[in-house]
Symmetry: C2
Subunit: 364 residues, 2 copies
């Protein structure tokens, strides 16, 4: 098992990563002050719940906790205010109070949704993350929680740090192949923005990671979480540095929105977005190697690098204009300046971005 | 004009109270860092908007701000997640970004709703309050913002402090009589919990306050805000002391819910609730005088002191069980121990509360 602390002053919290850490959920909860006198609410989805929910509930009940559960339909559509209202109904009916804890058992969607419930229920209760996807190694660090609006993703939310994160690599063994790849996409991103060596490690270990080798996963998730935690610790409220985590996300979020959140999963969308950012980098005068290497690594993982041609360029551009990363009308992009290094460019012209989007449809 | 600072460290903010302070909205905004490069969103309701919205928009536009507005139906029902989603749609379509400011122009409902929009839009943008009711002197201090759930009031929300509050007593001159009385109910509460002299001042100045005498209003609002701000400064996140502000609110919130948020306005409900708390105090052995004086002051303002008999006791009790102020199954009440002094009693039996509720229906 590896342990990592996300350093955020009085809001610091630990992440425990390893095979079967969930077996020790009760001692972990006891160690981190999760209260037994008030009901716990576990939020999960209908893909993960059949695999892991019963066991988690049984462990907690055997440990003296009172537990109520709310299972949502798997997929991005669960991140809505309507579903949030239903979950709050469950919480109220179960008598959750200000000493209660909301637990996310699932991937990034469940984490974001349950996290915003925890952030807003009675103006904030405790929160625990139990990520069950590789992708969630990203969303479980940093405290960003949110739901979507019909017009934009993640636009209604909060910063709400968990008490602890329990990352059991055993829960990843049942992940569908597509989700495995998509999750590794964010892991690669952490290499691309911060640590060229880690990016190279990812490329060298692509087969092991895709085969869900526990040792490789444990290290990859650990280092991925660590990179993110270093960035978040230096900039909790996303004023500046934290924006580098958005590599590939400006285009990626737009693609997800235009594809109505069901054709592309998040990791696929940002894979295409990262290729786009690399193309943009080259157009802005940075070394050609950035594009070549970025595309090679992502391809090695079987991740998409070409933008589906039927997604309309106008719709993609328009979706980007709603993106949080545009300040006062200017287009802001995370642009790689080398492998393992990025900069925030606040003066990218919309025409150049449109050119990149068009060219992404022609990629080999 | 009177100025008051709510002391909350780096989240401290000023409240400006006086006749026609709104005329200086542009210099106030400039002084407090409200940005011109990003659109402002004013949220108001259809009772206040016809009276004040055009003027505020014109002043701001003349001062170089870009303004978009969203007007909701007046009343507690606007505090819903559905309306929040509509407002966020307006914000997105107008291009509000992270440097934008959301402004509440209206009473407590608009303040709570717009405040939660500000707290959650892009995970938090700037917020300004322009209260147009007497009641809002209470909600404009302390940063508590929220919407309702069909099962409970104010259950989904955040703590989000404004940049500044502009309290123009001129906007109060058009308040319906019922709203005037209801607003003075919270002002009296601030006397009852903290400052017997101020409670006495309120009683002595009942006629002037009910007649909306500007000088009396300015002082009353100032001292009301000040009492609240002292309490909030010492306990921003409602861990302990801040709970004293809930005098009358446990019963009051339940009454509002059972009356479906349309028969009783908030100030009326808490007036009945404060009489209930005073009765509870006497039952718990505190001086009879508490009940006599509380009831006399509230009556002098024409506020209700009797619980409408058709509201079912069972429904009221059940609504209270959902209240945030119950921790781990115990009933918690703010109980006066004297005029100007209260205590938090965490061991009030449900039977005693039921007795009080029944007796409140028999009040003279």
């Amino acid at each position: 098992m590896r342990e990592l602390t996300v350093e955020l002053g009085e809001r610091s919290y630990p992440i425990y990563i390893g095979q079967h850490v969930l077996n020790d959920i009760v001692p972990f909860f006891e160690k981190h002050g999760i209260r037994k006198g008030s009901p716990l609410l576990i939020v999960s989805d209908d893909r993960i719940a059949p695999l892991h929910l019963t066991r988690v509930v049984e462990l907690l009940e055997a440990g003296g906790f009172t537990v109520v559960t709310h299972v949502v339909e798997a997929g991005e559509k669960a991140k809505s205010l309507g579903i949030l209202e239903q979950i709050v109904g469950t919480a109220l009916n179960a008598g959750l109070d200000r000493n209660s804890t909301v637990i996310a058992l699932g991937g990034g969607v469940v984490g974001d949704l349950a996290g915003f419930v925890a952030a807003s229920y009675m103006r904030g209760v405790r929160f625990v993350q139990i990520p069950t996807t590789i992708l969630a190694h990203d969303s479980s660090v940093g405290g960003k929680v949110a739901v979507n609006h019909p017009l934009a993703k993640n636009i209604i939310g909060a910063f709400h740090q968990p008490e602890l994160v329990l990352y059991d690599t055993a829960t990843l063994q049942t992940l569908p192949e597509r989700e495995v790849k998509a999750g590794l996409s964010e892991m690669i991103k952490h290499g691309l923005i911060w640590d060229a060596e880690f990016a190279a490690w990812c490329e060298e270990n692509a087969e092991r990671l895709l085969a869900l080798d526990p040792e490789a996963l444990e290290y990859g998730l650990y280092r991925g979480c660590e990179v993110k935690s270093i960035v978040v610790s230096r900039d909790e409220r996303e004023n500046d540095l934290r924006a580098i985590l958005n590599l590939g996300h400006t285009i990626g979020h737009a693609l997800e929105a235009v594809a109505k959140y069901n054709e592309l999963v998040h990791g696929e969308a940002i894979s295409i977005g990262m290729v786009g950012s690399a193309k943009l980098a080259v157009k802005l005068g940075h070394p050609e190697n950035i594009y070549v290497t970025t595309k090679r690594i992502l391809s090695k993982f079987g991740l998409p690098t070409r933008l589906p041609a039927h997604l309309e360029t106008d719709a993609i551009m328009s979706a980007m204009m709603h993106d949080k990363k545009f300040k006062e009308g200017k287009m802001v992009f995370v642009v790689p300046t080398d492998i393992g290094k990025v900069e925030i460019n606040k003066n990218v012209s919309a025409d150049l971005v449109r050119e990149v989007v068009e060219q992404l449809k022609q990629e080999a």
